[in-house]
Amino acid sequence: MIRFIGRRFLNILLSLFVLATLTFFLMKAVPGNPFLDEKTPKAARDALMAFYGLDKALWKQYLIYLGNLLQGDLGISYKTPGQTVTQIISQSFLYSLKLGAVAIVVSVIVGVSLGMVSAMYNRKLIDKIAVVISILGISIPNFVVASVTQFYIGAELRWLPVAGLDGPLSYILPTFALSALPIAFIARLTRSSMLEVLTADYIRTAKAKGLSPIRITLRHGLRNAILPVVTYLGPMTANIITGSVVVEKIYNVPGLGQFFTNSVTNRDYPLIMGITLFYAVILMFARFLADIGYAMVDPRMKKSTKGG
């Protein structure tokens, strides 16, 4: 087990190094530079380039960056010279995290309930409605959900705030947009694994013992059926937290998402690097933890990792 964890960890470090290297050179290969602007004269641009060490040879810049990175220094944002990349990431990630956490909790609760109800009333009307809802959730992209609900529920009906994250009410619309897909996905996962579990022998035994259907579903069914949902949690968490770029923009959440595109448009090199690495670390660790969790829960996994 320790060997397995150690190897996975080394693997992550190596991946991060490769990612940092590739991103660095790809980003420098893009035409244009951070200080290129209609109204900044060339002399001022050159002075700024020299100030930030961008006039040095590319390999030197790369080594300097790696050196700083190893010391945990992500540099200063060229666009907002008053702020370091670390400041920007920590300030804005907090917003993404708050919204993401709410969306994750909602997704799990609603998704699992929907899936369970669906399985209990297999092929009845309720099940069919739930299936339609799931299909809609999976097939409509979140930015469509976000724009449509913002316009009708926010701007037209004025039931909820159109933008910002002030107060609990303002969380409702962005949370809905973010969790529509995970809800649908979890509901389908729960439903299918629940249907499988419900035909198992121990369920029949429970039924024979005369337990109430609700008790059977919750106690004996759900407990066993939830495993696939747990495995999905890892990537889902990473996806919700990192994938909220568009939803954040539409609902004007000052999260990290906006910087993902803006930093590239601005050629804000330190910020591009910082955000790419930060997202990579989150994604990789989410999978890492899911893998470890899986290895601990499932004996078959343990075995295979020993062999490998």
């Binding site: 693997n11 991946s15 990612l19 590739l22 991103t23 790809l26 980003m27 893009v30 035409p31 244009g32 200080f35 290129l36 602007d37 209609e38 109204k39 900044t40 004269p41 060339k42 002399a43 001022a44 641009r45 002075a47 700024l48 100030f51 666009k79 907002t80 010279p81 008053g82 702020q83 920007i88 300030q91 804005s92 917003y95 724009s147 913002q150 316009f151 926010g154 701007a155 004025r158 705030p161 159109v162 933008a163 910002g164 923009k249 539409i250 609902y251 004007n252 000052p254 906006q258 993902f260 803006n262 590239v264 448009t265 601005n266 997202y279 990579a280 994604l283 990789m284 999978r287 893998d291």
Partner: protein, 571 residues
């Protein structure tokens, strides 16, 4: 599982390079927003509470809320180069002069001044009744310190707009490391007297000192904490308002500065700047009452909505002329665009009125000159004092000129040509319409190509294009801000235009102290640009915004910025 990590990696890389390849131009344009194509004409119905005349008293919460789209890159005037930062700076700082309610330049931190005989030395008397928000007095030393700090070639962070101070004697030399700080022509003679020596007589200097690069900083506060401008707590400013809260990437709040001398004129208690990156969200927030102002200068109303509001005669829509021209440029280092006749043929074979009415959809003014109508001349506007139009559209004439021009260049047919523009719906529509007109009228095929903002700029500055979209907004209220773009060696001369006669006119205008003479020289320069079709003007731009009827006494300045310093709420 190894495969999984590998795929994550690949996905991130792909995302990175795709983003790098496309992206959008919003940022580029935020820096220079007046160059974007949207807006309309001066529709009447300015009930939005502008331009005085009304006698309503302030009532209700004196809070004004507007959108600035994105985080201000800096609030240190020395490092500013964009109009998001500038919009906030105009409220929290005040230069030697300021803009009054009617848009005129009037005494600000300087209560009076004298100008020497040769128009090169200005002596400002700094007012004694105003303090920094921290309580320190505003002195002449602050101005000297601030300007020299901006010019410092070894500054902690180099100032991108330091060249705005190059009008001052010795400034350029010091800034580029060739001179010394002692030779810079700004000096505090005593605590309240500031002497400024200029390189040339600069008739618009008094309006220049009202620009953010000329704003003072609090010497005491800056020396105490080099990071003073990063957060609200350590911030010091001398304007009608002061910074009270700055939630990075979310919002900025400024409140009335009780240390400001003119508090009686300041009626708002607070201005709140939201940062909404999405124009639909901005509009929805305005509609639901979360914003009092939407659209230009620092926000955007989606173009189709502007058109709809215009047709509906929405009284909250205000469309103002701005000192900004939308035009196309030709790469004159390349055949056949080095030929006047070819350029002229392209310029007079399009229908500007049709473009403005059917494509740009804001009713901007078709441009037959280069300097926009809001730029001042000696008495009236520069446009009124010179010529309104320099050429006429004429398809037959164009055909003839094109044939002649090509023949002169030894070409049998019009070569493969591409028109480039940066990402924007409006630019795309205009480019398509113009190339279609060229095709119909001249029978030539010009391809269009969209480029991401920085790539576009790179190509333009390195003369790697045939024909390109361009725009320019005034830096100060004088025709010079447009006309000195195209002197040989100018950093903005991205068309490969070299004309010693033109350079001479501009240089003479720089040095002359005779205003009549100067106007004449500038008029000649513009005529030369137009006669040679050096650039192809398309339209004079406007700025469209939505203002709630209860917002009074806000106004748009000549160059399209907002002034909220005298505003109040009457609910």
């Amino acid at each position: 599982m190894y495969k999984k990590t590998g795929m994550t990696l690949a996905a991130l890389m792909v995302a990175g390079s795709v983003l790098a390849a496309c992206g959008n131009s919003n940022n580029g344009n935020a820096v220079n927003s007046s160059n974007n194509g949207s807006g309309g004409e001066n529709t009447a119905t300015n009930t939005a509470g502008n331009t005085g005349g009304e006698t309503t008293a302030p009532s209700g919460d004196q809070v004004f809320r507007m959108n600035i789209t994105s985080e201000p890159p800096t609030l240190d005037p020395s490092l500013m180069q964009d109009n998001v930062s500038g919009t906030i700076a105009d409220g929290i700082f005040e230069g030697l002069t300021k803009t009054d309610k009617t848009g005129e330049t009037v005494p600000g931190m300087a209560e009076s001044w004298t100008v020497s005989e040769d128009s090169k030395t200005y002596t400002f008397k700094i007012r004694k009744d105003s303090k920094w928000s921290t309580g320190n007095p505003v002195t002449a030393h602050d101005f000297e310190y601030s300007w020299k700090r901006t010019l410092d070639p070894k500054a902690a962070t180099p100032a991108p707009y330091a060249y705005q101070l190059h009008y001052i004697e010795g400034a350029k030399e010091y800034n580029t490391g060739k001179g010394s700080i002692d030779k810079v022509g700004v000096k505090a003679l005593d605590d309240y007297t500031l002497e400024v020596k200029l390189k040339n007589p600069t008739s618009y200097f008094l309006s220049l000192v009202n620009f953010y690069t000329y704003y003072p900083v609090d010497k005491v506060a800056v020396e105490k904490d080099p990071k003073w401008a990063a957060e609200a707590a350590s911030f010091s400013s001398n304007g009608p308002f002061k910074l009270s809260a700055w939630q990075h990437s979310a919002s900025v709040e400024i409140v009335k500065n009780e240390n400001y001398y003119g508090t009686a004129d300041v009626k708002l208690d607070k201005v709140k700047f939201e940062m909404m990156g999405d124009s639909n969200t901005e509009l929805s927030s305005y509609t639901t009452g979360a914003l009092d102002w939407a659209g230009k200068p620092t926000g955007t109303i989606p173009a189709p909505q502007v058109d709809k509001f215009r047709k509906d005669k929405n009284p909250e829509l205000q469309i103002e002329n701005t000192a900004s021209t939308y035009f196309y440029i030709f790469n004159q280092s390349k055949k056949p665009f080095n030929n006047v006749k070819v350029r002229k043929a392209l310029s007079i074979s399009i229908d500007r009125k049709l473009l403005v009415d059917k494509v740009v959809l804001g009713g901007q003014t078709p441009a037959f000159g280069f300097v926009p109508p809001t730029i001042k001349g000696q008495e009236k506007s520069f446009r009124e004092e010179t010529q309104q139009t320099y050429f006429e559209e004429n398809v037959e004439e164009a055909k003839k000129l094109l044939a002649e021009g090509l023949k002169e260049e030894g070409m049998s047919a019009f070569p493969a040509t591409t028109l480039i523009y940066n990402t924007s719906d409006s630019h795309a529509k205009i480019a398509t319409a113009v190339t279609e007109m060229w095709k119909t009228n001249l029978g030539i095929d010009v391809k269009t190509e969209v480029q991401e903002w920085k790539v576009f700029l790179q190509n333009r500055t390195s003369l790697n294009y045939d024909i390109s979209r361009a725009g320019w907004g005034a830096d100060y209220n004088d025709a010079m801000t447009f006309l000195d773009l195209y002197i040989t060696g100018s950093g903005n001369n991205d068309l490969g235009y070299k004309n010693p006669a033109y350079d001479k006119l501009i240089e003479d205008a720089y040095v002359t102290a005779d205003q009549a003479e100067r106007s004449k020289l500038l008029a000649q320069a513009e005529k030369m640009l137009m006669d040679e079709s050096v650039v192809m003007p398309v339209y004079y731009d406007t700025a469209a915004s939505l203002v709630k009827p209860y917002v009074k006494d806000t106004f748009i300045t000549y160059n399209g910025n907002i002034n909220y310093n005298y505003a109040y709420i009457a609910k």
